[in-house]
């Protein structure tokens, strides 16, 4: 039993924290890659900015440091790391009674680092260190949640947010790199390595496919790998798992919605074949996945948070 508003807040904490982590990683990879003045380096910057959804990616890729600074610390930009973390913390404050002190403390520490008046200076003094520390702190936050929160409904709503966001972010990243809109495919070794770094997948990839960088292998790994925690398939399996556990006690009408959607999404990835995906072009496949993620999000909201009262009033 949990307040609908609280479940919604926990879900969004999960989403915002995951989003912030992804943005940090994109910025970090972009800054590291562009230390080299090569064509591949600016390709990486364009990939990162396009994955964020910035329409001026080509223009901004010319000044990656400024772009990264804005991506991380611009409070006006709703998609920036600092904005995402502020919202995560604001949601956490609203459900402060539902998360453990240990979990709250981690998020609070990150918040104070990001909103410190000297944050921009610290970033300028060592952006890689700054981003590395932020990512590490976010891992600590998830670790504290995992180790101290009861793995009940509230925690599952948070994890649902994390995995749904992650599936969408990885999906969007693949779409930017391999979608049909892309004029020429990415084949450069540096760019492909950077792509794996953006998904925090380089080391696990090497262990499976060795240093042979092939777009086909990369797509297979990031989409369909069963065990890698940032593959879309892994995410959808978790989404289904958490959802079925949350909705088990719910009785009533129209509540099979999110379960059914999540099951179908998981099955789509579980039984997909990379050759077929390649043959029909990745855009169609990625588009279907992203649409279904959005549908799961919507039906979760309708089933658990903003349900019509008439159906639930006692007779």
């Amino acid at each position: 039993m949990m307040l609908a508003r609280v479940a919604d807040s926990l879900y969004w904490i999960g989403r915002y924290v995951e989003r912030a982590e992804h943005m940090c990683r994109l910025s970090d990879v972009m800054l590291t890659a562009t230390l080299d003045r090569t064509e591949a380096a600016s390709e990486v910057a364009r990939m990162a900015l396009a994955a964020v959804g910035d329409p001026d990616d080509v223009l901004k890729a010319k000044n990656p440091y400024e772009a990264a600074l804005a991506l991380v610390l611009d409070r006006e930009d709703h998609g920036s790391v600092v904005s995402s973390l502020s919202r995560a913390r604001e949601n956490a404050r609203q459900v402060r009674d539902q998360i453990t002190t240990e979990t709250w403390e981690r998020l609070n520490i990150i918040h104070f680092r990001m909103t410190d008046p000297n944050a921009a200076k610290t970033f300028a003094g060592g952006s890689q260190a700054f981003l590395h520390d932020t990512i590490a702190d976010l891992h600590l936050f998830k670790g504290a949640a995992d180790a101290t929160m009861s793995h009940g409904e509230g925690w599952r709503f948070m994890m649902l947010g994390v995995y749904l966001e992650r599936a969408q972010l990885i999906g969007a990243l693949l779409e930017v790199c391999f979608g049909d809109k892309k004029r020429r495919a990415i084949t450069d070794h540096t760019a492909l390595t950077s792509l794996l770094r953006m998904a925090c997948a380089l080391e696990p990839y090497l262990r499976v496919y060795t240093a042979d960088m092939q777009p086909r292998f990369i797509q297979e790994f990031l989409l369909l790998d069963e065990d890698f925690p940032r593959s879309v398939r892994f995410c959808t399996a978790r989404i289904e798992e958490h959802l079925s556990s949350i909705s088990r006690p719910v009785e009533g009408v129209g509540l099979i919605g999110p379960d059914r959607l999540a099951g179908r999404l998981r099955a789509r990835l579980q039984y997909a074949d990379i050759d077929e995906v390649q043959a029909s072009g990745p855009t169609a496949f990625l588009g279907a996945i992203l649409d279904e993620c959005a549908a799961v999000h919507k039906s979760v909201y309708e089933a658990f948070v903003a349900y019509p009262l008439e159906q639930r009033l006692p007779a």
């Binding site: 039993m1 949990m2 307040l3 609908a4 508003r5 609280v6 479940a7 409070r75 604001e90 404050r93 609203q94 459900v95 402060r96 009674d97 539902q98 002190t101 709250w104 403390e105 609070n108 520490i109 104070f112 409904e153 709503f157 949350i246 006690p249 719910v250 009785e251 009533g252 658990f304 948070v305 349900y307 009262l309 639930r312 009033l313 006692p314």
Partner: protein, 495 residues
């Protein structure tokens, strides 16, 4: 009762005498000798350098910041979060002194709840002329909607935080009762957690009575309000939301009680039953510990423009399907004018003399008392009856002629709205100010719970006027707080 000349003359003398006395020092007795119950702390302090003390102060502040025990200061461009100024040196109360406070507060809350039960039903005390009828019935905090409504155990005020001060002669007196939605108990608990970290050795040796059962006792109190008709009542804490300055406390108490923290928008009233919206549908609520003022709990009954409460809540309460704690309308018993009558109220219902005295209070509604106050404005503290938080207040000895004139005009224009009290030198306790130990004025806010029975938690929030010489301890006026150690004498049982 009128302001007899005998009374004003006595007050003249009392006021004169009060000013002549220097404030009571909590740590140092006559000839600067350390009082016995402060000896352990004084010893410890003498071994610490100012630098070590400052370091401990920083540890304490970091603890508060990380826990999110903060309030937000909204600026033009950005907002910053600050912690409430917190002093690391505990204020210590001897076991003997606490006994008087405990019995005094129990007596007082018992009488005040009987008073509330009376004025919302038979009004015997008004018919007997002990308290003026118009003073009670015309008070804005009197809620006629509460008339003849059944309140279990006659416990109207379930949570009470009374402000005590120590007078120059060392005796405690009640400055104010808070029966509406008293706050500060989370600071009492958080200060304790912090001071255990800062002075673990001294704490262990001192024999401090524990206060950590407060959340449990609060839950028991709240449950006892519905236990007659619901075997395992669902308790919730109702907060105005995250932007309220006491939000930390609401979340803190909810977490420690294991009760959901709800906002008005989470509640649904249907057929005079109150429900909350959960992920699995609607769930019935039995007891609401509300931290929302009377005016805002139900737009159908009280303020129509309020979005903080829930429409229909009060009718559900009237129907007996939910209990609101504290009951609406308790504010009339902590009204600053009614305050003056509390000793008579105690005598009337219990036949006892008040154990904790009042501060002498002049009601400006009585012409004789008004003229006395006007003649000595520079010696009095004048308070608006309806105001709180240190606003709408004149501290005579610290005021300018112009401020006094302004209040004199206000007093003449609307005498009913003001009371006056002689300026009392609050006692002082040692505080760490800019890395040095200096005395600052303090008061004491213990918390009393009343459900089936009355329980006083052996601890309190000590509020500190951080500015040198200041007598205003309210946090909205730059006041801070510190931990309060009530020592055991080995005989007291667990609360």
């Amino acid at each position: 009762m009128d302001g007899s000349t005998a009374k004003t003359k006595a007050a003249d003398q009392a006021a004169g005498a009060t000013f002549a006395l220097s404030p009571y020092d909590e740590m140092l007795g006559p000839e600067q000798a350390v009082r016995p119950h402060y000896a352990a702390l004084a010893d410890r302090l003498s071994t610490l350098t100012p630098k070590e003390l400052a370091e401990r102060q920083r540890t304490l502040e970091r603890f508060f910041l990380l826990q999110g025990i903060t309030f937000t200061v909204y600026g033009a461009e950005s907002s910053t979060e600050r912690i409430i100024p917190t002093d690391l040196l505990p204020r210590i109360i001897a076991a003997e002194e606490w006994k008087t406070i405990e019995t005094g507060l129990t007596q007082r809350l018992k009488a005040l709840n009987m008073f509330l039960a009376d004025i919302y039903s038979g009004q015997q005390i008004l018919m007997d002329g002990v308290v003026p009828r118009d003073l009670v019935l015309n008070a804005p905090s009197y809620r006629r909607q509460m008339q003849n409504l059944y309140v279990p155990h006659q416990a109207y005020a379930n949570v009470c935080g009374s402000d005590l001060i120590r007078q120059p002669d060392g005796a405690f007196a009640v400055l104010e009762d808070n029966l509406r939605v008293p706050s500060g108990v989370s600071y009492m608990l958080a200060n304790r957690e912090a001071s255990k970290r800062v002075f673990p050795g001294t704490f262990r040796g001192a024999g401090v009575r524990p206060i950590d059962r407060y959340p449990d006792l609060l839950l028991t109190t709240l449950k006892s309000m519905a236990a007659d008709w619901r075997p395992n009542p669902q308790v919730v804490v109702l907060t105005p939301g995250v932007y309220n300055s006491a939000y930390f406390e609401h979340a803190y108490l909810a977490r420690l009680m294991g009760a959901p923290l709800v906002e008005g928008r989470d509640l649904v009233v249907h057929d005079n039953m109150v429900y909350m919206r959960t992920t699995t549908g609607l769930r019935r609520i039995d007891v609401i510990y509300r931290r929302v003022d009377d005016d805002f709990i139900d737009p159908l009954t009280f303020r129509r423009d309020s979005g903080l409460g829930s429409a229909g809540l009060f009718n559900a309460y009237r129907a007996g399907n939910v209990v609101i704690c504290n009951a609406p309308g308790t504010g009339v018993a902590d009204d600053k004018a009614v305050y003056a009558y509390v000793p008579e109220i105690i005598k009337y219902y219990l036949g006892e003399d008040a154990i904790l005295p009042n501060i002498e209070t002049f009601l400006c509604r009585e012409p004789a008392q008004l003229s006395h106050v006007l003649a000595h404005l520079d010696k009095f503290v004048v308070k608006a009856v309806g105001a709180s938080g240190g606003y709408g207040m004149l501290v005579g000895p610290h005021s300018t002629k112009a401020q006094q004139q302004e209040f004199a005009d206000a007093l003449k224009a609307d005498p009913d709205n003001y009371i006056a009290q002689p300026t009392i030198q609050l006692s002082t306790a040692p505080c760490l100010i800019d890395d040095a130990i200096e005395p600052r004025h303090v008061d004491l806010r213990p918390f009393i719970l009343c459900g089936e029975k009355i329980v006083v938690t052996p601890g309190a929030l000590t509020r500190v006027a951080m500015r040198k010489g200041s007598l205003v301890v309210n946090s909205s006026q730059g006041g801070g707080s510190k931990d309060t150690w009530v020592l055991t004498d080995g005989k007291d049982l667990q609360p």
